[in-house]
């Protein structure tokens, strides 16, 4: 629904962004959320939904980390007047619980767009607006997305003012910590070319390895000679945006083809449409499954071998540590200067994740790539259903990059969710470390070249 807005965004922010000081009220306790269907007829594990006070009504509001802007419809839909209109208004966020709709957070004096937000998940799940990244980025926002939401373990969102722990402390406490780029700020300026400021950066770009093989530290060791780190990688590298306003994994057709999938023509014929908070109209989609997904900490620098190579290295290092008492040793490609390299943090989720394949020319994929530097390509969206069984916190406050801090919810098995904090290598025989949920271990040897 926001694609049509890009050209007008600078003016929106120039006019509305600098007038008032927003006032935020929240209590940093979990806010119970509903879930939209992942697709028509799908389970209610899709987009995260709260309610919002709108006159005497309490319509649904989608919480979307992938939307750059927030909106709240003031009138009827469809609108009798041209939309969108930017205004300064309030979002009174209500919990979407079975016991009522209590006020759980208040965002007053914020810039909102008045437009018909449409549907998310399926056609029947109409929302009155979007709580987007422009507001969420003032906080550190935690989500708990159980695989099967129940009254005792519901889907929740918690708003915090900050996340105080350092990356290393969080890793020591068992969290997967990823430094992620926040994107989106230059989209409007680029689109309009008028030089006015666009919406703030709030989209989290995740480096992902799709369809990696199943791994167990009890399996056989993977050998890797010096210089073979990328050669030994399995899976497909992707760049995806985290969006809690979507349910399934969404992939561009080209990304799906890189995974070895087939794209029917016409795409999505006879299949359910994808309802996205980022587009006005539902999108034709081809529905598939992706066996596994690993979100890997890292950057896109020249020296970075890619998400799948980092994942393979992390698994080799885990195998070595788990088996170091039985002769396990670090593979030559994982050693530099005689010292084992650190294993990057990753969160692996499976299995058979539902995914919607959409055209590269769709409004959704175009929107995601609007602000991206030439040469890079955003391949799609990680939706809320993809992350079922996890809890994570998006630390927008952290500088210069945002942080994504994740863990698996209790009771979830390794093949469904596995959080591997960064494992720092040891440089001396007197040192010990705890990694991959293993007991405290000393220095493991390096394998011969």
């Amino acid at each position: 629904m926001f694609v049509r807005l890009l050209g007008t965004l600078p003016l929106v922010f120039a006019l509305a962004g600098c007038s008032e000081s927003p006032v935020f009220e929240y209590d940093s306790r979990p806010i119970e959320l509903q879930r939209a269907p992942t697709a028509s007829g799908g389970p209610d594990l899709g987009a995260t939904l709260a309610k919002v006070a709108s006159g005497s009504d309490t319509p649904l509001l989608v919480i979307d980390t992938g939307s750059l802007l927030s909106s709240l419809r003031r009138g009827v839909c469809p609108s009798p007047t041209p939309e969108p209109v930017a205004y300064t208004g309030d979002i009174q966020l209500l919990a979407a619980s079975d016991t009522g709709a209590p006020l759980r957070a208040s965002f007053r004096g914020v810039t909102l767009l008045d437009l018909c937000a449409g549907a998310v998940g399926d056609a029947s799940t109409q929302v009155a607006g979007v709580l987007g990244g422009d507001i969420l980025r003032n906080f550190s926002v935690a989500f708990a997305l159980p695989r099967v939401p129940t009254p005792t373990q519901p889907t929740t969102m918690t708003i915090y003012s900050n996340l105080p722990a350092s990356d290393s402390d969080l890793a020591a406490d068992g969290y997967t910590v990823m430094r992620v780029s926040l994107r989106g700020s230059t989209a409007a300026a680029t689109a309009s070319g008028n030089g006015l400021p666009g919406p703030p950066s709030s989209r989290m770009m995740m480096r992902v390895c799709a369809n990696p093989p199943v791994f167990s530290p009890d399996g056989t060791a993977q050998t890797c000679k010096t210089g073979e780190v990328e050669l030994q990688a399995s899976g497909t590298n992707l760049l995806l945006t985290l969006s809690t306003g979507h349910g399934p994994l969404v992939l561009s057709a080209s990304a799906w083809q890189r995974l070895g999938g087939q794209v029917p023509a016409p795409l999505g014929a006879g299949e359910p449409l994808l309802y996205s908070p980022l587009t006005t109209d539902p999108i034709p989609a081809h529905w598939v499954t992706v066996s596994r997904l690993a979100l890997v900490d890292g950057d896109s620098g020249d020296a970075w071998p890619g998400a799948c190579a980092e994942l393979a290295r992390g698994r080799r290092i885990e195998w070595t540590l788990a088996n170091q008492n039985n002769g396990g040793c670090f593979q030559p490609c994982d050693v530099s200067g005689g010292v084992a390299l650190p294993a990057a943090a990753y969160l692996e989720i499976g299995s058979d994740l539902p995914a919607a394949v959409v055209s590269d020319a769709s409004d959704l994929i175009s929107n995601l790539n609007e602000d991206f530097p030439s040469g890079a390509q955003v391949d799609g969206v990680i939706g809320a259903a993809t992350l079922a069984g996890t809890s994570f916190e998006i630390d927008y406050i952290s500088q210069p990059q945002g942080r994504w801090v994740a863990a698996c919810l209790p009771g979830v098995d390794r093949q469904t969710c596995w959080a591997a904090p960064r494992c720092y290598g040891l440089s001396g025989s007197g040192q010990t470390h705890m990694c991959f949920g293993l007991p405290r271990l000393g220095l493991a040897p390096n394998c011969p070249q």
Partner: protein
């Protein structure tokens, strides 16, 4: 919590703009110079005495409050019109009165005793008025500068007059501190077991003499914070077993040494005319971020209650401490005014008023992060705490006579009165304050041409405070839960403000002895 006034980030700036003009009236001579100064005779003595008395009486009573050190520098001689190195704190413009080079080192010993007699509570609700009584709780705090991290209650500075019209100085002192400890099983545990909070200021000062009678000064500084706070959280609040020790989780939060500094500035003017000196100064709250101090509490521990599934949060991750936390609070800015009247060559009358804007110090917010999996939330422990403080602005008024009968000896007598920084209903063991009176005596000896040694003693007595209706309402937690955490309900508003804690009704007494020693070397 409420984030007030967060300006839209689209504009690229925040709203925290500190108004920065204060002034200090300009001032008066350092003690030896004062004695030499020619006195005006244009105003009759009686009139001057009346004016001085009126100034002292009409000014609102002064505050130092539970965090503020009212005796930075020496006890009994320093103030906004005093031309020694303590001017870095009191009024940088008065640095312009420095003659030659100076080094000052001072230390205080401050012993505080607090007695809390909690009112009986109803064991089923936790509200005052029941049958469950408590023994008297006694809290003690001894502050002295010989500690690490440094302070509180110390002062060290060095400075010099430069080229007649300038003076430069650098000094370290502790403008804010709080230290108090109760027994581990104290009835005050839900508000405070112990606190040790220090804000060490490292400040450089510059004064410029604009005219013979008018000087201005500025002293930007860095504030290094240290904190250690221990209290209990009643995890069964609102249930049938209120204040059950078995349901008490202990939060022991501490910084790892001093923290990266926040920055502040002191500015002032000093005016001198005939026998009168006037000083005005403004000391800012930490600049930027709405004056908020953010302390990374890297040495934090949370001990789950006996009723929790685990007794050690850290066992699963194999290292301790395993909890990270950050504490946020605001510090006040301070306006200071002082008048000195050199009544005779040997006698000065001094009036000082300080307005400490404690109204900003309304709460302490704490965010904690524990181990994943079986961490804080899994054990029913909250990871976000708000400790209500609810301070109000306070006023500190002091009247002082300084008599120098000999060239090498002077003494002073000061009577200080300070209004409460804490409204009666908000008083708790963590924030004990009331109307205070403080007589103080100080003497100073000049030894040779270069050395002065001053010593002083002050006794601070707080008018006992009886809290009948406390803002702390243990029933608010249950009422808020019953309202499905609806923030618009009064109970949830109280919980958000940190008032959903066990009652603090009762009587509070406080007595403080301060012994100070200051050495000044002129060279």
């Amino acid at each position: 919590m409420v984030d007030w006034g967060l300006r839209s980030r689209y504009c690229g700036h925040l709203s925290a703009v500190h108004d920065f003009n204060t002034g200090t009236l300009k001032g008066f001579p350092s003690p030896p110079a004062m004695v030499r100064r020619r006195q005006s005779r244009r105003v009759p003595h009686a009139t001057r005495i009346l004016i001085t008395a009126a100034l002292l009486v009409c000014a609102t009573p002064a505050l130092a409050g539970p965090l503020d050190d009212p005796h930075v520098g020496s006890l009994g001689f320093s103030g906004p019109t005093t031309g020694d190195l303590t001017a870095v704190y009191w009024n940088p413009a008065a640095l312009g009165l420095l003659q030659g080079n100076q080094f000052m080192f001072g230390a205080s010993l401050r012993a505080t005793q607090v007695t809390v007699d909690r009112a009986p509570i109803d064991p089923s609700t936790g509200l005052p008025g029941g049958t469950r009584g408590f023994p008297s709780a006694s809290g003690r705090g001894l502050e002295q500068p010989m500690a690490w991290p440094p302070g509180p209650a110390g002062f060290v500075g060095v400075g010099a007059g430069v080229a007649r019209r300038f003076a430069l100085a650098i000094a370290a002192y502790t403008p804010f501190s709080q230290k108090l400890s109760f027994d581990v099983a104290t009835p005050t545990r839900y508000h405070l077991v112990s606190v040790d909070s220090r804000q060490l200021a490292l400040v450089t000062g510059l004064a410029i003499e604009l005219t013979d009678s008018l000087q201005v000064g500025i002293a930007p500084g860095a504030l290094f914070s240290y904190g250690h706070l221990v209290f209990d959280q009643d995890t069964a609040l609102g249930g049938p077993s209120v204040e059950d020790p078995n349901a008490a989780a202990r939060y022991d939060l501490a910084t790892d040494g001093t923290q990266a500094p926040s920055y502040f500035v002191v500015a002032g003017i000093h005016f001198r005319r005939a026998a009168w000196e006037v000083g005005l100064a403004y000391s800012s709250a930490p600049l930027g971020g709405d004056g908020t101090v953010k302390l990374a509490m890297e040495r934090s521990q949370v001990k789950p209650p006996a009723t929790a599934a685990t007794s050690d949060l850290c066992s699963a991750v194999g290292h301790s401490p395993c909890v990270s936390s950050e504490m946020r609070y605001r510090l006040p800015d301070i306006f200071t005014a002082g008048v000195t009247w050199h009544a005779t060559p040997h006698l000065d009358a001094v009036g000082i008023v300080r307005w400490v804007r404690y109204g900003e110090y309304d709460r302490i917010t704490i965010r904690l992060v524990g181990p994943s999996g079986n961490g804080l939330l899994a054990n029913g422990l909250t990871d976000q705490l708000v400790l209500y403080r609810g301070f109000q602005d306070s006023w500190d008024l002091r009247a002082r006579l300084v008599h120098a009968p000999l060239r090498w000896f002077r003494w002073s007598g000061t009577l200080r009165m300070e209004t409460s920084a804490v409204p009666e209903a908000s008083v708790s063991a963590a924030a004990v304050d009331g109307l205070k009176f403080e007589p103080a005596l100080a003497t100073e000896f000049t030894l040779g041409r270069h050395l002065r040694i001053a010593a002083g003693y002050a006794l601070t007595w707080m008018v006992p405070v009886t809290v009948g209706t406390s803002v702390f309402n243990p029933a608010a937690a249950a009422a808020c839960a019953q309202a499905a955490d609806d923030l618009s309900s009064p109970a949830c508003q109280a919980r958000s403000a940190g008032q959903a804690r066990p009652s603090a009704a009762g009587s509070y007494k406080m007595l403080r002895h301060t012994l100070a020693l200051m050495t000044t070397v002129s060279f």
